[in-house]
């Protein structure tokens, strides 16, 4: 399989400064600092590396009607931004964690299952970056090429995989995430549930797709609230129709997960991540034709 370099595949250790034109539609609390300099008492500048908030690779209204602009504004502009700010504050007080890339930071602060206080925020920053990149406008549909082959090899069929993914999402208790990962040791794909901020990096697995199942990820859009207005907007009507499907009692979460799989998930990005993963995991001999 050839290495595909698409624009939407971004390594999580890179940080961009936000263009000011992007800030027009988001709350003013977003910080966009790449590097700050402080002068110590003796006049020698101390440089602290901070993390900045990365923008999703699409405009905030691009995922309508499946994920509203308001939802993204709050989820990205307030939650994700809040995590970045909290991480920066904590790193300010902790000398030991400088110089780590985000991936290293997560593994170190996870501390083999006994997480340090910085773990929660650091992991959530990474998780949300990964999540925005795992979606795209006009997403859903089916994976292609090698990824589809691998899914069919490890799950039987794409339909089976989708069912298992949705089932895992619906049986997760509390806050957490659902991941499609490439398990390094077993050299196969797996669906993993994690609680709170934990992500597969701590077990050295390679995540391909991530889905946020904290309530804040779907509450605004999928909790169909009782509108006093007689005229419902098109989006509200659409969501209300979804909620009338005879699903199990957890209508809202089920709708959200189904919509994610059918309309939002970016299989292109997953394919790119898989291609990159193959540099680290040997998935078998390539089929070299015999002359």
């Amino acid at each position: 399989m050839s290495w595909c370099c698409c624009n939407s595949v971004c390594t999580s250790s890179s940080r961009q400064l936000l263009a000011t034109s992007d800030l027009s539609s988001i709350p003013s609390r977003v910080s966009n600092v790449g590097l700050k300099q402080k002068r110590s008492l003796c006049g020698v500048p101390k440089v602290f590396a901070y993390y900045g908030l990365k923008t999703p690779p699409y405009k905030l209204d691009a995922l309508e009607p499946y994920m509203s602009q308001k939802m993204l504004e709050v989820h990205w502009g307030e939650h994700h931004c809040g995590y970045v700010e909290a991480l920066n504050k904590q790193l300010e007080k902790n000398d030991m964690l400088y110089g780590c890339t985000m991936d290293e930071l997560i593994k170190v602060t996870y501390n083999n299952g006994n997480p340090l206080p910085e773990f929660g925020v650091a992991a959530q920053v990474w998780n949300h970056d990964f999540f925005w990149e795992s979606m795209k406008p006009g997403g859903g549909d089916m994976p292609k090429l090698g990824l589809l082959q691998l899914i069919e090899k490890d799950f039987g069929s794409f339909t089976n995989f989708k069912e298992k993914f949705i089932e895992a999402a619906l049986t997760l208790f509390g806050s957490g995430w659902i991941w499609l990962v490439l398990n390094r040791e077993e050299k196969r794909l797996a669906i993993i549930k994690t609680s709170n901020a934990v992500n597969p990096l701590v077990w050295n697995d390679i995540p391909l797709i991530g889905l946020d199942l904290w309530e804040h990820a779907y509450y605004l859009d999928y909790k169909v609230t009782h509108s006093s207005s007689f005229l419902l907007s098109a989006k509200r009507f659409f969501l209300m129709c979804l909620s009338l499907f005879p699903l199990f009692s957890q209508n809202d979460k089920a709708n959200y997960v189904n919509v994610f799989m059918n309309h939002l998930v970016s299989w292109d990005v997953a394919l790119g991540r898989m291609a990159r993963a193959q540099a680290f995991v040997n998935l078998g001999e390539p089929k070299i034709p015999v002359a």
């Binding site: 208790f173 509390g174 709170n196 804040h216 609230t225």
Partner: protein, 228 residues
């Protein structure tokens, strides 16, 4: 808008074709709120109360009943793997039911005494153990704000040691998980669904405001009952 409290009993004898005594599976149903949905405004909006009660709590009860029925069947058939497998669903949904049932009782509208600090034995116990009500509030709010993910903050009482404790539990674990002698006096739901529509991600504001509708009378009653 008020729902009736019903507890129904069903018997499963005969249907399974087993020759045994009549066994009944108790099903649970949604308890009434002792006040209107909008009565706790502006601390908690009516919209949140309605969703929280009619959707979330009801879902826990529905799933709990389902899990209990499956458990009953599995026990009858002697299907131990299924019995073991159902434990987490029972803990989660049963815990959710217990926790929310306590939660509705420990909130009260301002006109019914919500927010009034406790007098009597609970008041003095708080002063002895924590110094002041403000200390309790500060402590619980700090724990709640620091809690990552979903869970509850409790002011509880150890029946054996006759001591007050502040504990957090994650997901829907009831307070007894932290100690078999612990009885909840006050609980604050810090799952996002409890405050999201109104406070978004500003959890500290929710924690600050919920004390204005806290029903200390209920906590005092429970405390006095356990002290006897």
């Amino acid at each position: 808008m008020a729902l009736r409290t019903i507890i129904t009993k069903r018997t499963l004898a005969g249907a399974l074709g087993f020759r045994q005594q009549h066994r009944s599976v108790q099903t649970f149903s949604l308890p009434d709120l002792p006040y209107d949905y909008g009565a706790l405004e502006p601390a908690i909006t009516g919209e949140i109360m309605q969703l929280h009660h009619q959707k979330h709590h009801q879902t826990y009860i529905t799933n709990y009943n389902k899990a209990l029925e499956q458990l009953h069947e599995a026990i009858t058939k002697g299907d131990t793997p299924t019995v073991a497998k159902l434990q987490s669903a029972i803990k989660f949904n049963g815990g959710g039911h217990i926790n929310h049932s306590v939660f509705w009782k420990n909130l009260a509208p301002v006109r019914d005494g919500g927010g009034e600090p406790p007098k009597g034995s609970l008041g003095s116990a708080i002063d002895i153990h924590f110094g002041s009500i403000e200390a309790v509030i500060q402590n619980m709010n700090a724990e709640g704000a620091a809690l990552q993910g979903s869970g509850w903050v409790w002011l509880g009482m150890d029946k054996e040691l006759k001591r007050l404790v502040i504990e957090i539990t994650s997901n829907q674990d009831p307070l007894v998980i932290k100690g078999p002698n612990l009885v909840p006096l006050l609980g604050i739901d810090v799952w996002e669904h409890a405050y999201y529509l109104q406070y978004k991600n500003v959890k500290p504001d929710y924690l600050k405001n919920i004390w204005k509708v806290m029903n200390w009378k209920y906590a005092s009653e429970v405390y006095e009952k356990e002290c006897r």
